[in-house]
Amino acid sequence: MLIKPASGIRSSEITDKKLYLNRREFLRATTVAGATAAAAATGVFGAGALLQAKGAPHGRKLANVKKGFALNATDKVNAWEDITSYNNYYEFGTDKSDPAEYAKNFKTEPWTVTVEGECAKKGVMNLEDVLKGETLEERIYRHRCVEAWSMVIPWVGFPLANFIKRCEPTSKAKFVEFYTLYDAKQMPGTRIPVLRWPYVEGLRMDEAMHPLTILVAGLYDEVLPNQDGAPLRLAVPWKYGFKHVKSIVRVKFVERQPLNTWQQQAPDEYGFYANVNPGVDHPRWSQSTERRIGEFLRRRTIMFNGYGDQVASLYTGLDLRKNY
C-alpha cells in the first residue's frame, strides 16, 4: 500500500464525516471546541479558509476511510498535483489546466441528485443522503484516458451498486444514465457548444452493479477537488476516462441504451462501451500504448485496463471491435 493514513493527526482533529457534510454544524463544533483562533479566521477569511486549514494539506479530510481494497493498483500512485492539474472536464474549458483554474469557486453545497426513470424510489436526494450509511473506501485505480495517457489514482468512494439498490430499479431498468450539472453561470466551458450539454454517460445495468464501479466522493482521503468532479463522480476503471461522468446531478434508469455525449459527438470514434482495448485503435491514434503521467517510456495498454479477470465475463459473446 502506497497511501498511508496521514500521520501525526490526532483523532480529535479529524473532521467527522457528518460534520464535513454540514458546514454550519462543523463551524459550530469547532467553536464549541474552543478553537478561538480558528473562529477568528472564520471571521476574517470565511469558512473556506478555516476548512482548508483543518485536517488535510489541500482541503477537507475525510474521516474513517476504509483501507486495503484487495484490487488496489500496485503501481506508483500519481501525485495530488498531477491528478488535480491535468483534467479533461470540458464544462470548465477544453485545456487540461482549465478545470483547476475555473472550477475553483464551483459551488458543491448544497447538492442534490435526482433519481428518476424505471425505479421505485424516484425523487430528489441531498448529497448527504446519497452518502448516508455508506462506508467510504479507498480504491487505488488505474485511470486510462482515451487520449492515451494514464494515471494511478487513490479515489475514495463506495460501490455504485449500493446506491442503485436503494433506488430499487424495476425489471425494465436495463441501463443507467448519468447527467453532469449544466450551469452556464458556474461552468464557463458550457457557454461554448463544444459538446452537447449537459454531459451524459451511461452504463449497462450489470456494469453499473459491478463491485469495481464506484461513486467517488474523495481523493487522497480528502474531499474530492472540484476539478476532479466534485462532489460526486463515477469511476469505472476498465473503461476510458470519458465514461467517468463528473459532478453528477441526475441518475436515470432506462430501458434502452443511452446516447452518451462523446458517442453523439463522434460516433465513429467513441462508442457506448468504451472499454480500454489496446486492440481497437481510435481512428486517429493508436490505443496500444499509453503514457503514464510522470514517465517517459510508454506502457503497453492492457485489455480492460488490467481488470480483465474481474470484468471480461460481462462481455462474452459481444464483438468488442464493433462495440468499442
Binding site: R291, G294, L297
Partner: protein
C-alpha cells in the same frame, strides 16, 4: 512567391545617415533572430523548472507544432504586408521567419519521433542499438502510413525541406528567380496541410485550428486578389515594385 530582386529598395538615401540596410543587418535581424529563439528558450526553461503541465512531453509536442504554424503564418504575412504598406524592407526578414518555421517543424517532428514513437518501442535490449533505430524508423513510417493526420503533418513538414535547402543566395542564383519563386510556392501547401493536421487531431474544440485556418486562408486569398487586380488595367497604380507573380 514574391520577386526577390528588391535590393534597390534598400539603398541609403544619404551618406550622412546610417544606411537602413545596416540597421536591418546589424540591429533588426539579430533582434528578430533572438526573438525567434524565444519560444524554444521558454520551452526548455519551463521543462527544466517544472513549469509545464503534468504531461510535459505532450506540451513539448503541442508547443513546437503550434510555433511551426505561427512562423508559417508570419512568413506568409510578409508579402501582403509589404504590398499593403509599401514597406519593402520587410521582405528581408522572410527567409529568417521561414527558416524558423522549418526549425520548429523539425523540432516538432523530432519530439514526436522520440516522445510518441521511440518511447513506445520495446527497449528491453538497450536504448540505442541498431535494431532499436530500425524499429524506430519502421514505427514512424507505419504511423505516417496509417494515420491520416500524421500523413498530412509529415507531408507539410517534408514540403518545407526543399524550401529550407534552397533558401541560400547561392541556390537562388542557381535556380534563377523565376524557378525559385515557383518552387517556394510550396509553402502555401505546407501551411494549408499544417492547419488540416492541427484540425484533425483536436477532439472537439476546433476554435484554435479554425483561427489558424482563417489566418492562412486570408493570406492566401490576398494573393489571389492581388494577382487579379494586377492583371487588370489598374495594376500600374499598385504601390509596390511588383513584376512577377504573387
Amino acid at each position: 512567391m514574391d520577386s526577390i530582386d528588391d535590393k534597390s529598395a534598400f539603398r541609403n538615401k544619404s551618406a550622412f545617415r546610417i544606411p537602413q540596410s545596416a540597421l536591418i543587418r546589424y540591429v533588426l535581424k539579430p533582434t528578430v533572430f533572438l526573438a525567434g529563439l524565444g519560444p524554444l528558450v521558454w520551452l526548455v526553461w519551463a521543462a527544466l523548472t517544472n513549469n509545464l503541465s503534468a504531461n510535459p512531453l505532450s506540451d513539448l509536442t503541442i508547443e513546437t507544432g503550434t510555433w511551426t504554424l505561427r512562423f508559417l503564418c508570419i512568413t506568409l504575412a510578409m508579402t501582403p504586408l509589404r504590398r499593403l504598406t509599401g514597406w519593402n524592407w520587410i521582405i528581408r526578414f522572410r527567409r529568417m521567419t521561414g527558416l524558423f518555421a522549418f526549425f520548429y517543424g523539425s523540432l516538432h517532428f523530432l519530439t514526436y519521433a522520440i516522445v510518441d514513437r521511440y518511447a513506445g518501442l520495446d527497449l528491453t535490449n538497450g536504448y540505442v542499438t541498431a535494431s532499436v533505430l530500425r524499429e524506430l524508423v519502421k514505427s514512424v513510417g507505419e504511423d505516417i502510413y496509417k494515420r491520416p493526420f500524421i500523413t498530412v503533418g509529415f507531408t507539410a513538414f517534408t514540403l518545407m525541406v526543399p524550401l529550407a535547402l534552397t533558401s541560400t543566395a547561392g541556390m537562388i542564383r542557381r535556380l534563377g528567380g523565376k524557378r525559385w519563386n515557383q518552387l517556394h510556392r510550396l509553402v502555401y501547401a505546407s501551411a494549408t496541410l499544417g492547419v488540416i493536421h492541427y484540425w484533425w487531431l483536436v477532439k472537439a474544440d476546433i476554435r484554435r485550428p479554425l483561427a489558424y485556418g482563417i489566418v492562412v486562408a486570408t493570406l492566401l486569398i490576398f494573393r489571389v486578389w492581388w494577382s487579379r487586380i494586377r492583371s487588370t488595367a489598374t495594376w500600374k497604380k499598385a504601390p509596390a515594385p511588383v513584376r512577377r507573380s504573387v
